[in-house]
């Protein structure tokens, strides 16, 4: 049985790297005595895959990991058991059964929501919000992006699905996953360069809020939060 787990990673856990988070999560599953499946072979590992690594320093309330289990307790019980053995900064939010034959989270991630704030000490020109709106009005936003083939110029405008300012917080929905992964830091850096003020990554507080799959067609997106592809176990 495949299970999709949704969790948040906040507070000081933002300083735990993705690799360490994976190791941490394995221990949570063992402490909670979730009956997880292992791979075959002499050094078996848990069958689990994370949807999308979160960069060091970022927080999130929309992280996902898929696991395979022999048998599962009810969703409510699983949440209770896991949350009893985790630390401050991590809370498990969903524990849902996936339909047979469903694809794993990593392969279907298509978009992500972020909330971006500036740190208090960061001095910004007053009119930054208006400038951001202007910046987004451009038909194309070309930046230099590191790719496997070296530096390449790419247009990130099509990957910005939404971006608006609400009481000093920038809400953005960006393309994510294996096809076009646009990081909010990169967008903010490009904006800063365009507007003529520095936006170092350390000036930003970035909180991921959701990850989506795209169930639409080639021409029309239909983004669905990953959790909605599974259902609670009664």
């Amino acid at each position: 049985m495949n299970i999709r787990i949704k969790f948040c990673k906040t507070g000081s856990l933002r300083f735990i790297s993705h690799l360490d988070l994976m190791r941490y999560f394995q221990k949570v599953l063992r402490r909670a005595e979730i009956d997880i499946c292992y791979s075959e072979g002499f050094s078996p590992h848990m069958i689990m895959s994370f949807a999308s690594p979160l960069s060091l320093g970022l927080t999130s309330r929309g992280e996902y990991v898929d696991i395979r289990v022999h048998k599962a307790p009810s969703s409510a019980e699983a949440l209770e058991r896991m949350n009893a053995v985790t630390v401050e900064g991590m809370e498990v939010l969903r524990f849902r059964r996936l339909p047979e034959q469903s694809k794993n989270a990593m392969s279907i991630v298509a978009a992500a929501d972020y909330e971006v704030r500036f740190r208090e000490e960061q001095k910004l020109p007053k009119e930054w919000a208006e400038k951001l709106a202007k910046y987004l009005e451009q038909p194309a936003i070309c930046i230099q992006k590191e790719t496997k083939k070296g530096k390449q110029e790419v247009d990130i405008r099509p990957w910005i699905y939404a971006c608006s300012v609400r009481e000093g917080v920038i809400d953005m929905q960006l393309s994510a996953g294996s096809v076009h992964n646009l990081k909010p830091e990169l967008l903010m850096q490009s904006f800063g360069e365009w507007a003529g003020f520095a936006v170092p990554a350390s000036a930003l507080l970035i909180h991921r809020t959701e990850l989506y799959a795209d169930l639409g067609t080639e021409t029309e997106r239909k983004l669905v939060p990953l959790e909605e592809l599974g259902e609670d176990i009664g």
Binding site: R30, R31, V87
Partner: protein, 621 residues
């Protein structure tokens, strides 16, 4: 939510910020308003090393069981963080509360190896606590040292208010109660130290005076007040079953060196190898009860979520119920895919059988520690491992599919001759030849033998405490002899040779048997920039040499000199139960190549029977 001591900007600018944030699974948080004593427990090395240390986990758990004490952890900030804390004058803080340790009641530092001495000064310095105990006031914590290097605390005497000699489980609560009373009484710092000096096992260096002879050796070491005892007695946990052991050890987020549950099955060792300090310090050998170990193994695995458990002891094969314990672990762990690691096992039919069950034979290697290349020298050091036993064990293993062997030796042992050095190569060659006796279709490719040599450092409280140590040049010459000889062997392609660095060994030798006068050089070396001396990439021998020269310290006096039988040693004021007469007898036996029985074959009357427990009393129950 907990507020961190460091800003995001700082944490994002250093390697592995998780070293500094605390908040790990099983870390203990308390309300500081309900607390009488705040204790910072420090391992003066980087987080991943410090978090791997069992002793701290035991004491952390023990202290935190008391409602009036909050014990927190602190480690050496790594080089990058060290720089930030210095530049921005941020006081070093404890991981749990993230509050400066200079405001704590105690700073306890475990001293596991000599190469951490400059890191001790770093911790004090970054904490903004005066380096010299004499300069501390009522505003500062009491700095207390423990661990194996506390058995010769003299090189660090200037920097510590107190030392705890022995196993922490026994007297700490007593000391804490005295402290609470003292705090209430409003007495002076000295008042507390004088009271503490009367607690068994506590040594207060400022209450003693050392006088030297003209030749530089010690004339006498005497207490300066009636409260300080002439002898400080090592404290021992007699019953290692009914005692403190953590069921919920702290589990780091980042990978520590020891990334597993550690189950200490026994303390001490019955063997009596003459070079081994731990073997003497932790006498008598004491076993934990099998049922206790089973219970703790299950609970610790459940509470940590670790995927591996390791047995810990100086010589696991000597644990009398090892077979039952290992069988229990295999049954318990295999359905949960938990690995079992069994270090320090003697290679025999039983251990090969077990290892075949718990590891991938093709990937794992056999480990032998003959320590010396010939039987003559192995008799000198009382290492009861014979060539026959090694070749038999290796042969059985090769037939079982093993092909990798690790061999550990020491160079520079007392009485070592060229023949002994060459014997190392000869033994490796015989093992390789034994491998190629296995029919080709039954063996697993080529055999790989890795020979490693470390250089011998004579340690206090061993039969070799009188022995001279080689110079750096002599050490390197001996490694060269071994290397050259290995190249002469028929199977040289199957044998790889590594040797340890010589500079750092010589320094270890000075600090290990040093006296109070060494302290000034430790401080000078630290001021010159020495730090993380155990990390070869950071070890700066030239700065240490400058420091010794400037402090007028003659290195050879501490290392190369033959010590007279009746010389007063800096550590003589400590009584570890094992008598000086026994050590002296053993030194004689060594020079004559006489072996001494292990404690189970027959008691040699070392003196440790005074503790009324462990192996010395096994036959009486």
């Amino acid at each position: 939510m907990r507020k961190l001591a460091l800003s995001d900007e700082i944490l994002m600018s250093v390697e592995k910020p998780a070293r500094y944030i605390g908040g790990e699974v099983n870390a203990v948080m308390k309300d500081k308003k309900q607390i009488d004593i705040r204790f910072a427990m420090c391992f003066p090395d980087v987080y991943e090393i410090g978090m791997s240390h069992l002793g701290i986990q035991i004491l952390y758990d023990m202290f935190n069981r008391r409602e009036d004490i909050w014990c927190e952890r602190v480690y050496s900030p790594w080089i990058d963080m060290d720089k930030v804390l210095r530049e921005q004058r941020i006081p070093l803080f404890a991981l749990e509360s993230q509050e400066p340790i200079k405001d704590f009641d105690f700073l306890g530092i475990t001293i596991q190896y000599e190469m951490c001495y400059t890191n001790i000064l770093q911790v004090l310095d970054l904490a903004q606590i005066p380096l010299e105990a004499a300069k501390r006031t009522k505003e500062h914590p009491f700095v207390i040292g423990g661990g194996p290097c506390a058995y010769n605390p003299e090189p660090l005497a200037d920097f510590f208010d107190l030392f705890y000699i022995g196993e922490g489980e026994t007297q700490y609560f007593h000391l804490m109660d005295l402290y609470k009373e003292w705090k209430r009484s409003g007495g002076t710092r000295e008042d507390f130290l004088k009271q503490a000096a009367q607690v068994p096992g506590i040594y207060v260096p400022s209450l003693y005076e050392v006088h030297y002879k003209e030749d530089g050796t010690i004339a006498s070491m005497m207490p300066v007040c009636p409260e300080a005892p002439e002898k400080v007695h090592k404290q021992v946990v007699v019953d290692v079953t009914d005692t403190f052991y953590p069921k919920k050890p702290v589990v780091p987020f980042i990978k520590a060196t020891q990334d597993r549950v550690v189950l200490e099955i026994q303390r001490g060792c019955i063997r009596g190898c003459r070079f081994c300090q731990a073997g003497m310090l932790y006498r008598p050998a004491r076993e934990r009860d099998l049922e206790m170990l089973k219970e703790y193994a299950s609970e610790m695995l459940k509470n940590t979520g670790y995927e591996e458990i390791s047995l810990s002891s100086l010589s696991s094969s000597d644990y009398t119920k090892l077979e039952e314990l290992v069988n229990f672990l295999i049954e318990e762990c295999s359905p949960k895919k938990i690995n079992i690691s069994l270090p320090s096992l003697r290679i025999d039919a039983f251990s090969l059988d077990v290892m075949g069950k718990v590891q991938d034979v093709k990937k794992s290697s056999l480990t032998f520690a003959p320590e010396a290349g010939t039987q003559r020298l192995r008799d000198v050091i009382n290492k009861g491992l014979t060539e026959e036993v090694i070749l038999n064990g290796a042969g059985q293993a090769f037939e079982g599919g093993w092909s990798r062997v690790k061999l550990y030796f020491m160079l520079g042992l007392p009485t070592e001759e060229e023949e002994d050095m060459k014997g190392i190569a000869a033994l490796a060659e015989k093992i390789a030849e034994r491998y190629y006796e296995v029919p080709k279709d039954q063996r697993n490719g080529k055999c790989q033998i890795v020979v490693s040599t470390s250089f011998f450092v004579p340690k206090p409280f061993t039969p070799f405490q009188w022995a001279p140590m080689c110079t750096k040049e002599e050490f390197l010459h001996r490694a060269y002899v071994v290397n050259h000889e290995i190249k002469e062997q028929k199977n040289k392609k199957s044998i790889k040779y590594n040797w340890h660095e010589a500079d750092v060994t010589v320094l270890e030798g000075i600090l290990a048997r040093g006296d109070r006068r060494i302290g000034s050089a430790v401080r000078k070396a630290y001021e010159k920039g020495c730090l993380f001396d155990s990390w070869s990439e950071y070890f700066r021998n030239e700065l240490w040499q400058e420091a010794f020269a400037q402090c007028g310290i003659d290195v050879d006096f501490y290392t190369a000199r033959v010590r007279a039988k009746d010389e007063v040693f800096p550590w003589d004021f400590i009584d570890i139960g094992v008598s000086r007469a026994f050590l002296e007898r053993e030194w004689d036996h060594a020079l004559h190549g006489n072996v001494t029985k292990n404690c189970r074959q027959g008691c040699s009357g070392c003196g440790a029977a005074v503790y009324k427990g462990g192996v010395c009393h096994e036959h009486q129950n």
